[in-house]
């Protein structure tokens, strides 16, 4: 048996994006898990009984509505709503008098068109693919909903407009060269409408069709081969959208705490958001691929909540975004200095990045100082080789 050195050990490819994706999933799953309480066993028992009952229910002959929608096919409903599944795990609840067609279902792109009526989309977790719903208003305006995740409704309204309502997660709606980003509880309506303020808000009663489709009904829960069950495809928000979202004109955020329509002229008075809120928003923006927005939120957190414990992490994340994505080495350096001033758990990475940045900026003397400081503090650190090769 030979001794394997550090450079001999098999190592995976670990790009920052991969680590971010891993952390995002860990965070989401961790936050979903219930804390352990003494009453968990009775609760688990009840859940097991309910699951058994559901299993028995699903083993009865499937309803005629149980359908797997194949690529290139469409489904058209008459007087009854219908639930269909996609092979990739998502589900669509098609309202009565509606038509939905499935376009491409390549591994990285799923395109669905809503030709008429209304449908609720429950998009399965699949970080590597984009899920799009395309439709057109009566006036011919094209609307595309890109799924960041995860459950939302698209409807053709009586007045010829198209509306989008998000139950959970995040979607992006593109229409007429504008882009709106909707978070849970938010809604959007196309220009075809004459009722700019009629959209649903979290406090509004649910849309009648949505109310009808929200809960399980006989027609919806019928089993379908290849259809992800409630424990698979319909839980929690997904990070489905990973494509670039920067560079769209007319971008706007619409969420439950904000004006629900892009047509609304109301601008709420500015209040300073809490650090926790900013942190979560920055993370969500980062997951959605909105790098500039994420950086802005991190910068705001650092500026407005400098004493908060999250400020150190935010400064480090800000530096990473500026360095890796925004081509802003000077800004990244400022953020790193701020992160290092707070100590923090990322000191090793921050010191290494600082040396790299100074090397990139051609500030050789400072680079050498930063390099030597890193090597002195982390002589056996993971960045030793990379940092040691800087500014010779």
């Amino acid at each position: 048996m030979i001794d394997l050195g550090r450079s001999d050990l098999p190592q995976p490819s670990l790009e920052p994006a991969r680590l971010e994706r891993q952390w995002s999933n860990v965070r989401e799953r961790t936050s979903r898990r219930e804390p352990t309480f003494a009453w968990r066993w009775p609760v688990l028992g009840a859940v097991a009984i309910a699951a058994s009952a559901l299993l028995v229910w699903r083993l009865v002959p499937a309803s005629e509505d149980a359908t797997l929608l194949a690529e290139g096919s469409a489904i058209e409903t008459t007087h009854r709503a219908m639930r269909v599944g996609l092979e990739e795990g998502s589900a669509i609840e098609v309202a009565p008098e509606s038509r939905v067609a499935l376009g491409s279902t390549t591994g990285e792109d799923v395109t669905v068109s809503l030709d008429r009526g209304s449908a609720r989309f429950d998009v399965a977790r699949r970080p590597s693919r984009a899920f799009r719903v395309q439709t057109t208003t009566a006036g011919g305006e094209e609307v595309e909903v890109r799924v960041v995740g995860t459950a939302f409704r698209v409807s053709h309204d009586d007045d010829g407009s198209v509306s989008v309502e998000v139950e959970r997660g995040v979607v992006e709606v593109r229409s007429g060269g504008e882009l709106a980003r909707l978070t849970a509880g938010g809604s959007w309506r196309s220009h075809g409408s004459t009722e700019a303020s009629a959209e649903a808000t979290p406090t509004d009663p649910p849309h009648p069709a949505q109310e009808a489709l929200a809960g399980p009904s006989e027609g919806f829960v019928a089993a379908s081969e290849g259809f992800a069950g409630p424990s698979e495809g319909f839980t929690g928000p997904s990070e489905g959208f990973t494509g670039p979202s920067e560079g769209f004109a007319g971008r706007s955020e619409v969420g439950p705490d904000q004006a629900p329509s892009r047509r609304s002229a109301h601008t709420p008075a500015r209040t300073v958001p809490e650090a926790r809120t900013l942190f979560e928003q920055a993370r969500e923006a980062r997951q959605a691929g909105s790098i500039a927005e994420s950086a802005r939120l991190y910068a705001q957190l650092v500026a407005e909540h400098d004493e908060d414990p999250r400020a150190d992490v935010a400064a480090f994340e800000l530096a990473r975004l500026r360095m890796d994505h925004l081509d802003d080495p000077r800004g990244a350096l400022r953020a790193l200095d701020r992160a290092l001033a707070g100590g923090g758990a990322f000191r090793e990475d921050a010191m290494a990045r600082r040396a790299v940045l100074l090397d990139r900026l051609g500030r050789d003397a400072e680079c050498r100082t930063a390099r030597d400081a890193y090597l002195a503090a982390f002589g056996s650190g993971v960045h030793r080789a990379a940092v040691g090769a800087l500014c010779p």
Binding site: P12, V26, E348
Partner: protein
Amino acid sequence: MTAVSSTLEASIKASHEALVRHITLLWDALLVLPWSTMAKPVTEPRATSEGGAQVVPFPGAGPSDAQLVEAARERQSWALEALFRRHARFVNGLAFRLMPRDGELDDLVQDSFVEAFASLERLADPSAFKGWLGSIVVRTAHKRIRRRRLMERVGLRRREPIDLDAVVPSTSSPEAALELRRVYAVLESMGAEERIALVLRRVEGLELAEIAERMSLSLATVKRRLVAAEAILTSSRAEEGGAP
């Protein structure tokens, strides 16, 4: 009298240095831990010239694992993140060497961290977080390998060979590369426990007792698993005409 005085001075000096060390640690923790984790805020420490000691504001690489675990137990999300980021490379490396198919890596890493974060209350020694986390990675890999084998046996999954070119790093010495190729070429033909024991022994370089701890097996069982794994390895070498 002089001797007593000098002893006292030494004692005072030692106490003073200990106090300064404590303040330093508290100050470091204060900078990174949220206020809610402190019983009460600590006032800003002042440098002192007595005894020549200085309070260094940022002495190390942030809070210790034990501090982070304590904060994480209170569901402080920043502490969970800090633990993830600090140990992500270690977990990814270990997971990759145990299950070197890239498509399986993310799931294994994520499952391991989720399990660890959900079980923090069961970690007796918070400072031993890294080793404990490694054990969770090993156990999680074991479960996944067994599940995959079962699926292969019932025909729900096809057995695929490990891509040796992707596993062996280009920086490996020729001897190490050959050793790695031999080990990973036969892994798929082994049982889950033999496979993991062999990787921990041959690749990770762990001692038998460490392997037993990571795998939650007795030392005798680990030895048996390694004997079986080595037999397969030796047989493979004999087939290719190489030296044992």
